[in-house]
């Protein structure tokens, strides 16, 4: 392993060189790369999306196998259908209400440790995914690659599910179960806030 230089003059030179570095401009924020970046950031830009996506992961982790992976697989597939409707300009009424409702219901499912059959859980998650997908699909910025935008928001959504599953693994610890239920209650409360905003 390379040793860190001990001489102050060498250290100062390295510091100067580091400060001197110009911007690499390696991450282009226009054209195709812009579409990917916009897509990646889109699910993260709205807290209503974020808490609902994380709740999917939390619930999956709480339900255990096979829901832990069936729900995060079902969600993007159905979300894509919603996104496709959005791209095609097919209107869905009450998208914001649906997104807020998803946070309320999924948060409540975690808070109350609901354990419906897997098909019901997947259907419930899938229904809400339509609203999230439609919101993403209708907000494609003009001039950007729709494909990379789509890839970006699908990957970001999957990342949020993974975050939820990661947090949900505390379920196996004695204190984790209550913590997870509290997190579900917080998601539900957040959903209620967004519901109020949707009607305000």
């Amino acid at each position: 392993m390379m040793a860190w230089p001990r001489r102050p003059s060498t250290q100062a030179l390295l510091l100067l060189a580091a400060c001197w570095a110009p911007a690499a401009s390696a991450h282009l924020q226009q054209a195709e790369a812009g579409g990917l970046l916009t897509g990646l950031l889109h699910p993260l830009s709205g807290l209503d999306h974020v808490i609902a996506m994380v709740a999917v992961g939390l619930w999956g982790a709480q339900l255990g196998m096979p829901a832990i992976w069936v729900l995060p697989v079902a969600f993007p597939l159905v979300m894509a259908l919603g996104g496709m409707l959005g791209f095609l300009g097919v209107p869905i009424p009450g998208v914001e209400v649906g997104i807020a409702a998803s946070a309320i219901v999924l948060g409540a499912a975690v808070a109350f440790e609901l354990r419906p059959p897997l098909v019901i859980a997947a259907l419930l998650v899938g229904c809400f995914a339509i609203f999230h997908g439609h919101a993403h699909g209708t907000e494609l910025p003009a001039g950007q690659s729709a494909l990379l935008y789509s890839l970006g928001f699908v990957i970001a959504t999957g990342g949020l599910h993974a975050l939820g599953i990661g947090i949900g693994t505390v379920h196996s610890r004695p204190w984790g179960r209550q913590l997870l239920r509290a997190a579900g209650a917080a998601v539900s409360a957040g959903g209620a806030y967004f519901m109020w905003r949707a009607f305000a």
Partner: protein, 204 residues
């Protein structure tokens, strides 16, 4: 003694300096050597998701199916891609590329999600079809020229590298969660394909 050592160091430094100044042009940019289109083909594959993602999907599927399927795909897909590209060189540019890619996204992503138990023959046919269709679409966009014959080689080399790397990562996976992670990646590919069909129908 000390002076002799210092002298040796000075001579070496001078020699290095002379070598540094005396270096010739690297010819790293190969436009003048005729090999440039090879890298154009390679980069075309690696910088656009329309071709990269279906190849990735097929590689994931082949990896899930085990070493024999991975080995077969490693040679079937690049060969078919090369043949398709060469066949496409004489054809007019096709506009169906996006929709064709979208359909492959959905099909291959769906097969990965389902962890479809395809036999070796089916994997071979699938690899040949993906390679021929995408290669043909790539080739038809290049136009016929002396340099264009080199680009398909770059394309098929990139396909070979991708399949080799991805299958090498997926084949040894035996942990349940690791195979599930591959299937989740398949769902992302299928979802992107559905979205792509939407915007290609709309004509974004």
């Amino acid at each position: 003694m000390k002076n002799a050592s210092a002298l040796r160091r000075a001579v070496r430094a001078f020699a290095l300096l002379v070598l540094a100044w005396g270096c010739g042009p690297a010819h790293a940019h190969l436009n003048t050597t005729g090999v440039g289109p090879l890298y154009d083909g390679l980069m075309h594959f690696l910088t656009g998701p329309e071709d990269l993602v279906p190849a990735l999907g097929l590689a994931l599927l082949a990896g899930l199916r085990g070493a024999p399927s991975a080995r077969r795909t490693l040679f079937t897909l690049p060969t078919a891609w090369l043949l398709g590209s060469l066949a496409g060189l004489t054809a007019a540019a096709a506009n169906a590329g996006t929709l064709a890619a979208a359909c492959w996204f959905v099909l291959l992503g769906g097969l990965v999600v389902a962890d479809a138990k395809l036999d070796l023959r089916s994997m071979t046919v699938l690899g040949a079809l993906v390679g021929l269709v995408h290669g043909y679409l790539n080739g038809s966009g290049m136009g016929l020229s002396a340099a264009a014959f080199v680009a398909p080689l770059g394309l098929s080399t990139a396909v070979f590298i991708l399949v080799a790397v991805v299958t090498a990562l997926v084949v040894p996976l035996s942990a349940y969660w690791a195979r599930v992670a591959v299937r989740v990646a398949g769902s992302w590919i299928a979802a992107s394909g559905l979205l792509m069909i939407g915007w290609s129908v709309r004509g974004v």
